[in-house]
Symmetry: D2
Amino acid sequence: MNRESFAAGERLVTPAYVRQGREARRSHEHLIRLLLEKGKCPEDGWDESTLELFLHELAIMDSNNFLGNCGVGEREGRVASALVARRHYRFIHGIGRSGDISAVQPKAAGSSLLNKITNSLVLDIIKLAGVHTVTNCFVVPMATGMSLTLCFLTLRHKRPKAKYIIWPRIDQKSCFKSMITAGFEPVVIENVLEGDELRTDLKAVEAKVQELGPDYILCVHSTTSCFAPRVPDRLEELAVICANYDIPHVVNNAYGVQSSKCMHLIQQGARVGRIDAFVQSLDKNFMVPVGGAIIAGFNDSFIQEISKMYPGRASASPSLDVLITLLSLGSNGYKKLLKERKEMFSYLSNRLKKLSEAYNERLLHTPHNPISLAVTLKTLDEHCDKAVTQLGSMLFTRQVSGARVVPLGSVQTVSGYTFKGFMSHTNNYPCAYLNAASAIGMKTQDVDLFIKRLDKCLKTVRKEQNKESDISGVDNYDKTEDVDIEEMALKLDNVLLDTYQDSS
Amino acid sequence: MNRESFAAGERLVTPAYVRQGREARRSHEHLIRLLLEKGKCPEDGWDESTLELFLHELAIMDSNNFLGNCGVGEREGRVASALVARRHYRFIHGIGRSGDISAVQPKAAGSSLLNKITNSLVLDIIKLAGVHTVTNCFVVPMATGMSLTLCFLTLRHKRPKAKYIIWPRIDQKSCFKSMITAGFEPVVIENVLEGDELRTDLKAVEAKVQELGPDYILCVHSTTSCFAPRVPDRLEELAVICANYDIPHVVNNAYGVQSSKCMHLIQQGARVGRIDAFVQSLDKNFMVPVGGAIIAGFNDSFIQEISKMYPGRASASPSLDVLITLLSLGSNGYKKLLKERKEMFSYLSNRLKKLSEAYNERLLHTPHNPISLAVTLKTLDEHCDKAVTQLGSMLFTRQVSGARVVPLGSVQTVSGYTFKGFMSHTNNYPCAYLNAASAIGMKTQDVDLFIKRLDKCLKTVRKEQNKESDISGVDNYDKTEDVDIEEMALKLDNVLLDTYQDSS
Amino acid sequence: MNRESFAAGERLVTPAYVRQGREARRSHEHLIRLLLEKGKCPEDGWDESTLELFLHELAIMDSNNFLGNCGVGEREGRVASALVARRHYRFIHGIGRSGDISAVQPKAAGSSLLNKITNSLVLDIIKLAGVHTVTNCFVVPMATGMSLTLCFLTLRHKRPKAKYIIWPRIDQKSCFKSMITAGFEPVVIENVLEGDELRTDLKAVEAKVQELGPDYILCVHSTTSCFAPRVPDRLEELAVICANYDIPHVVNNAYGVQSSKCMHLIQQGARVGRIDAFVQSLDKNFMVPVGGAIIAGFNDSFIQEISKMYPGRASASPSLDVLITLLSLGSNGYKKLLKERKEMFSYLSNRLKKLSEAYNERLLHTPHNPISLAVTLKTLDEHCDKAVTQLGSMLFTRQVSGARVVPLGSVQTVSGYTFKGFMSHTNNYPCAYLNAASAIGMKTQDVDLFIKRLDKCLKTVRKEQNKESDISGVDNYDKTEDVDIEEMALKLDNVLLDTYQDSS
Amino acid sequence: MNRESFAAGERLVTPAYVRQGREARRSHEHLIRLLLEKGKCPEDGWDESTLELFLHELAIMDSNNFLGNCGVGEREGRVASALVARRHYRFIHGIGRSGDISAVQPKAAGSSLLNKITNSLVLDIIKLAGVHTVTNCFVVPMATGMSLTLCFLTLRHKRPKAKYIIWPRIDQKSCFKSMITAGFEPVVIENVLEGDELRTDLKAVEAKVQELGPDYILCVHSTTSCFAPRVPDRLEELAVICANYDIPHVVNNAYGVQSSKCMHLIQQGARVGRIDAFVQSLDKNFMVPVGGAIIAGFNDSFIQEISKMYPGRASASPSLDVLITLLSLGSNGYKKLLKERKEMFSYLSNRLKKLSEAYNERLLHTPHNPISLAVTLKTLDEHCDKAVTQLGSMLFTRQVSGARVVPLGSVQTVSGYTFKGFMSHTNNYPCAYLNAASAIGMKTQDVDLFIKRLDKCLKTVRKEQNKESDISGVDNYDKTEDVDIEEMALKLDNVLLDTYQDSS
């Protein structure tokens, strides 16, 4: 409403009240102005009212929402379904232009602003989360794997001789495929076992660099966030090697923004050595739907080159999701989530430790992994081959999602490359184990239910093996509660065992 | 509501009415069942009630919506913002798995179904639109350019020696960049002028194939939908060449689904020769937000290979949009849109013809282009260099979006390659011109407003040139209506001239 | 967004585009301003974008949406559920104050404006619909019956001796109860049969006035919209009687806004005689959910008295619904609906005529009723008592809603008063019949389906009676279509016959 | 989705996952079934997913949502605006029938169920809140005042001689008007001052009953929730008087559900004497938008009589709001809100006590009022007449809503009856004062901001009076925070003083 509208309002309703309403409107506008001027995540989260006002204001700056617009092109932001228009807040033009995913669209000033602001907020949060010297980043509507591919494709143009990517092994298919898809040959560096942990074999990396010749190496592709007992790569040392041999360094930081340790590794790597880009998932770090990633780095122009490498426009949906989320949370809200995650990690760790000991198993000692934990399944595995898989299936049926059992000796071929001991990041890990992680957004209730159900499953599997024991690692008080799930699960158990696969 | 709930309902409210309500529910369920069983687009569009019931039913099959779920993984579909959850109908897990964008997700049966059904509906619509023998397709949450890149990256693994892509020139940046990004060298085949039309130079293509050697050619990359006076490539002949030399053929069908002519070309090409994949934009053909494309083809296993080439999960948002849209429209609704587009093309064509003649210009004769039209700007160009650009700027300011003026002699360098006569698809087109297109969803009102504003702008530009004439190609009856836009435009005219760029 | 925000936007994104976006925003603002200044229904409906912007702007003027508000009262517009807040666009304070439903709320300038504007729009529409000299009206969140009660309660204070309300019989319970609830004794004036029509017995009315004495009569309570064969009351003549005897006159115009005839009657009545208030339903005239009414009149201060008679605040929900609806439709959209209704009335009338004749029945000749029609069910009734009721039940089961069968001789007692021939507005109508109406929003498809199903039901009932005939009043071409409904209905037929009641 | 749909789903996607999804669906259905079978508020709140599924299931049982419905009546639940349909979850038919607001609608089984369940849930909550022996209640879409009117209108039919309503004074206009509107003469019983409290004058009540004669008295109309220093009426004793003299007793329990004390009074009154109906606001007790009330009682058939007194259908909107709210909260959520309110009352009380003492004022001792508090404004009043009003205006401008200043000697005439000392519930309260209340949903932050702003205002007012002092009752630490509000307020202060009114 403009000045004249308010004046008209004052003729309809007591002017003093209209004036107060108008003043109150200014506090919303003030927040919007601050955001646009500073480009930073507000400390306190916005309420829905301000948020929707802001989105509305942006949307009406796009030509498809002009009241007098007439479109005679082939891409005019027309929408057939009102449901679809509404769920996108009427942002239809996506982001970017044919030449550059970060470019401004003449037809869509609002969407363009949305894109800029989102990238600016996200940059602010990356700094806040620990990578203080990051200089540029952008949200790309592709998941982590494809975003890594884009980085590799960009590097190709700078390193015409390169054929190989040096890759400390991490058993996650899309990491591996990101290199294959880009058309490079991954050079797998096996991890070394230190205590229970699997860590980067720095000597092997350097030896491989020398063997293949730096010019033939596109980059080193390292990883922070991963399943225990693998731990984040030794980023500092890798970054130094990269710097020494003048090799680019791309870091897969998939769900590492939520961990100050992972972020610290990146910050340090960039300080002492070379990191060209680090890529992180939107959904895993910001609790939004799957489908977006952030490509960030320390060299402004290289990040721009990547953004220019994306041919054509792209979906604004992941940007919109993260914008809404960050404005709702505020930086304080996000910090709170980070803090809670850390606490939940300790809690999960303690509960798992206690439970595993009750079953003569143990929590693997993996202090360098800040997110994922692993519990041995030795006794289970000794009795029966299938017991470990059965446990996984049972947990799945009991609506425990994300727990991952890793049996020994699993072999898998991905894009023609055969991995021994697949899922365990190494050819022969000493024992089978179970993974659980404390990721952002986890609640005490998740841990409690998980421990209760795991206890029950372990007991059941044991009984089938021993036909005798009656161990329990959990206190008795709340056993009854979970009856419904159990009932349902019993019906499904047999059906699912056959089709059970890890849900990663 | 299950049987027991209905029984309880009958105890609260007259049983006969509850029973009728329950029976009525079955008609919704019946539609859902038909969809799942047949996998085809329903003839009549669904009402919102059935649509939302269906989406709701799917969503509660995803683990993040299980009431008893406990998540202990790093990717559990948690959402921080209720606004975000709602706008995605609580589908959070995206589509695909690390290995394959078409794969089923254990944690998300509902999202997996959504993905399968969407692909199935879209396949049905492609057949209906004219490519009857298509065998497989999938929606990918990337725009056309990046989707073409994905096709090229997939082909790389099948053709290790290939370095080149044969590409009949089409002046659209993302087409060109899609090849660069994939790491190939585009071999530009200039078009030949036949009458007013720019058409594929088949001899040049074949000569180039022979010159470079088929094994060194990744594929031929042809185009259907394009701006006049370029017309769709001669797909049949290109497909025969590809078949003869055993070279893959990828068709950029960006906004061609809406045209039976473009679809017919693809169908014929596949019948008489070779087409490996054809890629089309979701937004341009289905009136959904920017950000998705369909990769389709005639060889089931090749399309699957492409889908397996996408590393990692992906956004379900474009799939959801097109699913909602197609279910709302029904195949009848979509056919109606296609029919209206065709009619609008004739209407636009007639109005442009009449207007251009009033200004001593003419509508270029481009009968092979079913979507885009071009009007010469000869007289404008003769007087003053800037006049053509000024016209473009004026139209933009007057909220005409999508009209494109093409001056003579524009030179542009894209990824290191210099294009003479950029935007006109040829080095030296005989004259400057203006493009307008009749794309799906266009309304009579769009045409009328466009013609009125174009008339006004032409007159203004002329006046500035001649300081005399008083021509008008439009009838006088509704001149007054557009006053507001004009007023606003006058304020912006000077500001915008400098920054005016084509809005393609 | 204010000036500073736009300036900041221009630093992020090409200023020319931001400026165009800002200009475009003005067209939305312009519509809002016009609405507030003129208080009239816009000719063309607003798009959702403008509408939601407007509602949002109003809502943030309410104290519950102030960012800095602190509430220390007992009614602060707090909302527990975000779903509830959203569905009310965050208008929580309702309308009115303890003293007056039209009063301005200090805490809620936005809601107060919403209330004023809605009443202003509705007044504009009443004029447009035919009552040009109406001077004031307000939306009240109560259905027609309770709104009539409120009028009677207001009159009580002006006419302390009054005990009776003169009421030309109309067999609709809530009309009757509206008088009982207000504490008055309805004096029922039986209608007279003129041809097929039941019309006001003016002589009886005047005789009763003289008999009881004007001072003892609270008012005459007449009706416009009603089921055929009753027709709208002779409002002009009643208004003259009221004027002559100085008796107030309240008109139940329940669904009469949609008919120019009903509105004309009111306009004429007010011109030549006396009408104090006329009451109409929101849902029946404006296609909104049940629950609101409009109380309107020609004497500003009397309408204000009624609005002051409502003790306490009230729901803003019906006002919001009608505001959204009228702004979406525009006056042109509403006029179009009125026009279509009229056409549909002719269509329904013709189809019913033809069908009834095929079954040796006839369409009653009721030219004064512009909305409702009646078809005799003589032949049905002759054979069997239950046949008429059975027909009603069968239609209901076949998802024909709103058709009403009126058997002979139904007797019903309402609040202690016994009506002979209840539902037929008279003690002894010559024959049983079936009602159907052409109300606003009806579609050709409604008529077609109704005629088809009615034909089928009549045939079935006849067959059971005659075990022979094979009549059909409908062309054969589309008989198959309706199979599903029939199948479902057969299952329910027996169940429902017992509980069938008129669904009015 | 039915059995066949799931089977089809299993052919599209791994059957085991579909089966798990289907099982998971059952937990939602289970909650719905429990609700329908028990009719009680679930202990734990439902998530939005279950809630929307439930509403959707109900809505498709209404005839306007039947896919095959054809409507030929005048009220078919047609909706012109999709926005309106959606915000009502497609419940269009409202609740009740012409005869009875609690009646089942043949056309709307879903809405009818919604109505029944809502009334059932609300009854459950009233019991839980302390009135254990309540037997029936219903939600009515009118605010408290009009609902009281409806009770009085119902009683009229049972007590033909009655003219008076005995009413212990409570200075709230709509209470008073509810009697006037119903056509009765309120007999005002002045309160007696006991300590600081204003309490029911039982002797005066009984004397009045004897004076007027029980048959001429419609009922006693008492009040629980009210502004301090008035306290809830002595319900037990009043109930006994009513029982003794055989006079109905209607209790205005406007915002009393949130207080166990108020509810206890009603429970006790009903146990030892007579209470016919008690009426409570929906918005004030359940944090929903203004516009609904609950009429409850101990005699099933009397409550039914009231529900039958409402002529015609009614809005389902308030019922829908309270249903959504209670299902979201669960009884545990509601109990938590009640508990927090109590704690906030203590907190507010302590902070006010401390602040008032700093200014040589005091918190009035009103232990019988569980919700509202009063602080003397003696020193303010002594200096200047306008100071008290000015304080009120200043608080309003500073976005303190709901605080109420009560100056001495205010006289107001309501519906012809003149109240001395209006707002203070008595003719001559010893001093001016300020009210603040701890109502359901209040937050610590509300109290803190209020105290801070009150402190500031008091200081300012004092300064203007004394031009000297520098008192502050609030600690200094967070003074700066509130700067924006202050700035805004200063601009408005002068404007608003004139139009300031109490915002009750």
